[in-house]
């Protein structure tokens, strides 16, 4: 069972486009997601490999439609819900 992230060598994707002078983040929320993930990993809520595993478990259609940090946020909320730290209701409330 290959995962949707594992597309190395696969044909059919558009060319890789490299942004000139790409900033670390394209919006403030991306920096917040980065910071939240760093804090959760350094606090031992989950480790980096569990985080990568969670990104790879995002359903394929969602994964392909999501941006890089949208995938991060999806993986973070998935892990927090699985550990009972947040509930679906918490997430819906924002």
């Amino acid at each position: 069972m290959g995962r949707i992230n594992d597309v190395g060598g696969m044909q059919g994707f558009p060319a890789v486009w490299r942004e000139q002078d790409e900033p670390p983040f394209h919006a403030d929320w991306e920096a917040h997601v980065f910071g939240i993930n760093s804090a959760l990993i350094s606090r031992g809520v989950y480790n980096l490999d569990e985080f990568r595993d969670a990104v790879e478990r995002i359903p394929a259609q969602e994964y392909l439609a999501a941006s890089y940090y949208e995938r991060w946020l999806r993986a973070i909320t998935m892990l927090l819900a699985e550990r009972g730290i947040v509930t679906e209701e918490d997430l819906a409330d924002g």
């Binding site: 069972m1 290959g2 594992d6 060598g9 480790n47 490999d49 569990e50 990568r52 790879e56």
Partner: protein, 104 residues
């Protein structure tokens, strides 16, 4: 755990298709390559991603020819691979549990 490899050794990547996180990409499964560097010892991500005990094990830079991986091309692809993903190239590629760390 297999004997450690040395630079220049020919190795073959596992064919296992694990139902969990792994750092062995699909396109390199079963392919033969050459060890080009030793990259220190690190816990196997396949186990760590499942919160299983994972002692550090040797990680290697392994160079594969594009021909071996994709059937064409002149370049090489170098991948960082853990000891558990590899066996001597002379050996038959197998579905040994070692690649997922389940055999430890």
């Amino acid at each position: 755990m297999a004997e450690p490899f040395r630079i220049g050794d020919r190795v073959r990547a596992s064919r296992v298709d694990p139902p969990h996180h792994t750092r062995l990409p699909r396109y390199a499964r079963g392919a033969a390559g050459t060890v080009t560097a030793l990259l220190g010892s690190h816990p196997l991500p396949d186990r760590r991603s499942r919160r299983l005990a994972a002692d550090p094990e040797q990680v290697y830079a392994v160079a594969f020819t594009a021909g071996e991986l994709f059937g064409e091309g002149d370049h090489t692809v170098t991948i960082d691979l853990w000891q558990s993903y590899l066996q001597p190239a002379a050996a038959e590629p197998s579905g040994a549990a070692a690649a997922t760390g389940d055999g430890q």
